[in-house]
């Protein structure tokens, strides 16, 4: 039963005024939680994503896309990282060099997940720089694929998506549909929506690994498993 409807208006106003049901007053609209997942703080920040005082610099290329003020993607700046914010809008930044980062001519191992990063990697702005370190909903990447002339959308965000049970394939589809509505794709088309199994929960990963349409970012090594949720033409 809906509490707002169950209580008569004066009683509800009195309760709100007394602060007896603050959760009802402060909780964001449930529909956003359903569509894009509940707000969570980032899983971690990389060593360079905050300065020595702990302040999180915001990317100077940040755009927050909404129906009222769409964002403009720029193929020259791709790839982009995106996060659905508390208001249900899309914070999006390109992966540009971070002032507090380093360059790694010999490559490096990331301490958070022990993943190896190729020589030539430069520390870049990402999801934390899109959100200023604040809580967000589902996040991922926007990759411009020259071969198809389109933007592929994924759930690749270790900060806001990985291992969170409330970051489902359905929520990625919802986010992708919003992204397509509130971003100018710079003359390109919209490509596939890909759910990366490595950014889901272990249980979901085990289930999706049985999907007959499972694909891999690196088919030879069978790494980077993903499922295509929507094709470019289907939306």
């Amino acid at each position: 039963m809906n509490l707002r409807h169950a209580l008569c208006r004066p009683a509800l106003a009195a309760l709100l005024g007394l602060g007896l049901i603050p959760a009802l007053a402060l909780t964001p609209p449930a529909s956003l939680d359903n569509l894009y997942g509940v707000l969570v703080r980032p899983a971690y920040l990389k060593y360079y994503e905050a300065d020595l005082q702990g302040r999180v610099p915001i990317s100077p290329y940040l755009q927050v896309a909404s129906h009222a003020f769409p964002a403009c993607l720029d193929r020259a700046l791709a790839p982009y990282d995106w996060v659905i914010n508390a208001d249900g809008n899309v914070a999006v930044v390109p992966e540009t060099p971070h002032p507090y980062g380093h360059a790694f001519p010999k490559g490096y191992t990331r301490p958070e997940d022990h993943s190896w990063h190729q020589p030539g990697t430069v520390d870049s702005y990402g999801h934390a720089g899109a959100m200023g370190g604040q809580a967000g909903r589902i996040g991922g990447e926007l990759i411009y694929e020259a071969a198809t002339g389109s933007w592929a959308i994924s759930n690749k965000s270790a900060h806001y998506s990985r291992k969170n049970p409330d970051r489902t394939p359905d929520q990625l589809v919802n986010a992708a549909r919003l992204i397509r509505q509130v971003m100018d794709p710079d003359g390109a088309g919209w490509g596939e929506v890909r759910y990366l199994l490595g950014y889901g929960t272990p249980g979901l990963k085990a289930r999706l690994e049985q999907d007959p349409h499972l694909e891999y970012q690196n088919p030879a090594k069978k790494t980077g498993a993903f499922v295509v949720l929507e094709t470019g033409a289907s939306l």
């Binding site: 940040l62 720029d74 301490p111």
Partner: protein
């Protein structure tokens, strides 16, 4: 400002490339600490979490007062000049080009930004009348002009809560306020011809200029050091869940 050769500028405009992308790379030299704050406003951030830019207003170009009414674009009908006496006194050359019913225009600087010329990015703010104030706004476009072999830029910025806040493009802005065409010329001085680019280029241009400043400002001693093996070290930010694998 910059001294881009004309063919390069025209090529950039033709291809829709941001000007900064064609500027010669090289280390940016920041001025002495004493003038950093006054010139580059280091105490103020360039970007806010809602993706609005901060602009510190330097001077008014003139224009109308507060909005008298809102039309369907959320813009105002402008009535009369404000601060025109002060403006005319300080910039007598502008007076001739100032339209009778110009919108409220101002020039300001985007904090913590630097171009290849060593100058901060200049913004043309539409719909504000508060000299000295820090105004939040969105970049809608980029105006460019070549004068005496020098390329000058103005980023057109519109406060989202101002009279033009619902406009998302320069075309919408000019359609809503036709006097702006004269105002844009005024931003460079009288009788100036300008080229214009859209929001994508403006975002790219400002991002490049702020990145250049931050890159020059941050020293190695300001960064967290790498581990002895050359790999990053695990960082636990208080605001994160710190749920590393």
């Amino acid at each position: 400002m910059s001294a881009l050769p004309r063919p390069a500028l025209y090529l950039a405009l033709l291809l829709g490339l941001p000007m900064a992308a064609l500027q010669p790379p090289g280390p940016i030299q920041l001025p002495a600490q004493a003038v950093l704050e006054s010139r580059f406003l280091v105490a103020t951030c360039a970007m806010n979490p809602d993706a609005t830019l901060n602009v510190v207003i330097d001077r008014l170009l003139g224009g109308g007062g507060e909005p008298a009414r809102q039309n369907t674009m959320g813009t105002s009908s402008v009535a009369r000049h404000i601060a025109s006496k002060q403006h005319n006194r300080e910039h007598p050359d502008d007076v001739e080009a100032m339209p009778e019913s110009a919108p409220c225009l101002a020039l300001g600087r985007i904090p913590r930004s630097i171009l290849a010329t060593g100058e901060p990015v200049t913004a043309l703010v539409v719909g504000t009348s508060r000299p000295g104030a820090t105004v939040r706004g969105r970049a809608l476009g980029l105006l460019t002009r070549i004068q005496d072999g020098r390329t000058e830029y103005r980023v057109v910025v519109v406060p989202p809560d101002g009279p033009c806040g619902r406009c998302t493009t320069l075309d919408q802005l000019e359609a809503a306020i036709p006097e702006l065409r004269a105002g844009f010329r005024l931003a460079f001085g009288p009788a100036a011809g300008t080229a214009r680019q859209g929001r994508k280029e403006a975002v790219h241009f400002v991002g490049d200029a702020v990145s250049a400043f931050e890159g020059a400002l941050v020293q190695e001693s300001d960064k967290r050091q790498l581990g002895k093996d050359g790999n990053p070290v695990l960082y636990r930010w208080p605001g994160a869940r710190n749920a590393a694998d």
